[in-house]
Amino acid sequence: MNDRQRFEDLWNDFLEGEQSPEGVTVLQQMLQDPDRLSQATDQYQLHRLLGLQGQGLNENEDDFVAATMDLLPADPEQFVTEVEATVSKLQVRNVIGRNKGNDSFHRLRIGISTFVLTAAASLLLSCWLYYGWRSTTPEIELVEFRGEILLTGDGGKVVEGLAIGHRFLGGTVESVSPDSYCKLRFDDKTTVTISGRTLLTLSQNGQKIVRLRRGNLSADVAPQPIDHPMLVFTEAAELKVLGTEFNVEATTGATSLVVNEGLVRLKRLTDGKQIEVPARQSVIASLEDESGLSPIRREAPVTAWQSDLNQDAVIGKWVSRHWMLGAKLKKAVANGQMTKSAAVNAYKTAASFDDATGSVWAMPSPVGSLIVLSPRRSLKQPVLLNANTWVKVCGRTFSKFPMKIGLSVGLPDGGFEGKYSTQTPGSEMAAGEDFEIELPIDRFRDAKNPSSAPTGKELIDWWCIAESSSAKYEITRVEITDRKEKAKP
């Protein structure tokens, strides 16, 4: 392979998010050549433009406009300016009326002092109105967070150095990584917790309005005014909440709602169909499925789970074994290692209607290379973790790197509880080989709260992060087992 081909190959890998750290180093050297840099940047820009066009820039215009309008702040300054202007006019009119008939010098002096007095009064009034308005306007407080949380708050300002106790009127909160979460509290004690990769917009201009663009939300809602219920919007559903506790997961095209306490009214946005979901029941509203919309009763928890990777992958790319075999056979034919008819025979022999075996490949992201699996997708029962729980992870890595394996857990009666994780050193992994890790539940810890444990909690999701976004790995199986239960005759 010559230099040009090598460069094109590496840059293609880079555009596809498949570059290795070594590849980036080589590219860095190759891009010293100005012509190459120019070519590479052209390719990058065109790649981005094609992506934008392919994803329907015009088709998602309405969503973009609505989401942007949600971010706009209420405008206290405009309000203050209007009041200020009105008050100034009234005061000036009064003073001029009282001084009619005086000489011009006196009028001028009165005019100047009137101006000064009015300006001072207006300034005071503005301050009083602004701070009075600010102190009476309900705010949202950040009460707890872990990991990387981004907040675009009042006036569209990005909050740098976010700290517990930060208060804001409304905005967009993003939990960036599978191991991050944050809890927000409204003035009426309503709490909203987001966890994992979640994007949420909140406002409360007389009514709490929450837009869950993706991810997981868990809310404990204080009683709301009947005519102003809390509204939760997702891509597939609209929820009306008067006071209750519930969990919502929004993915592309589907919204899953679990009600722990009280009652939530859900409207499916594709057909406007509405249902009321009572306590301890759940429902899924999907953009694709317009059939029945009826709540399902929550079942008793189980203590074991074996992943159904095809269904459970929240983040990660599902690839079936059958598909992989097809790709391998094609490659073998192309390389002359096999005849076409032998490949077809091998493919037919392996083919079956059950194409459920396969693996999930990690996806690159700003926080690393990720896989997230949710047992809720394939299992009706919640998975309860206990002191005898073991977590088994099987997969394959293509280079040596440390991995963080974690669990997001909820309380048995609903609501988010926390994140627990354990680090697997890179030295335990062999590049290009299968691995199998078995971890007892006590290996999973919350680094900032070592005394807490995931036992007695319900599993929300399982996740795995490799620090480098170019780290390539696949997961072939994840299992939760109850060793005591298993030991029973």
Binding site: L37, E61, F64, L71, P366
Partner: protein, 197 residues
Amino acid sequence: MSTINDQDEQVLQDAISRVRSGDGSAFASVVRMCQSPLRAWLATHSPPGIDPDEIAQRSFVVAYTQLEEFELGTNFRAWLFAIARFQLKTEVTRLRRTADYHTRYAPDLLRRELERRCEVDAADEPERLTHLRKCVDHLAEHLGRFVTWRYTDEITLEEMAHRSERSISAVKKQLWKIRRKLQECVEQRLSAEGETT
């Protein structure tokens, strides 16, 4: 998608006036009219690791909060793009400070080249996007399908290789060639347009 003509410009200025008179909802029209070129420009000038739509939204929010400073009758789009440039620069600076940014995302030289282009490129993305669409439409069927697979259906390279009965390496090469071809086509159209105007 087309450039903003006089009539559109008038509608835009009217919407801005309404917002300044207190009708906040009129800002939706402003966002609608400007979102496409802004998002396209940001998509092509943001380095990896930055969500261009987020920067676009942030820019609109800043424009809204500072709308009093905008001089009616002047070019709103240019003003908005200046805000977006600044927002993008701020975000790039923030991201650059993260310890392993370059190993995670991008060669440093690409980021610098994009920053340079940010300063010199005109906000001509609506035309660029229109031309790109036409250029894609003019691609031969056997090439156009690669664009659809990769950018609309977002299928993996493995699947593309499977469908086209080629090796993954050949698919990568094909994509490179298609992008280069499209780049040339867009540049030709832009320069032809420049000559006629």
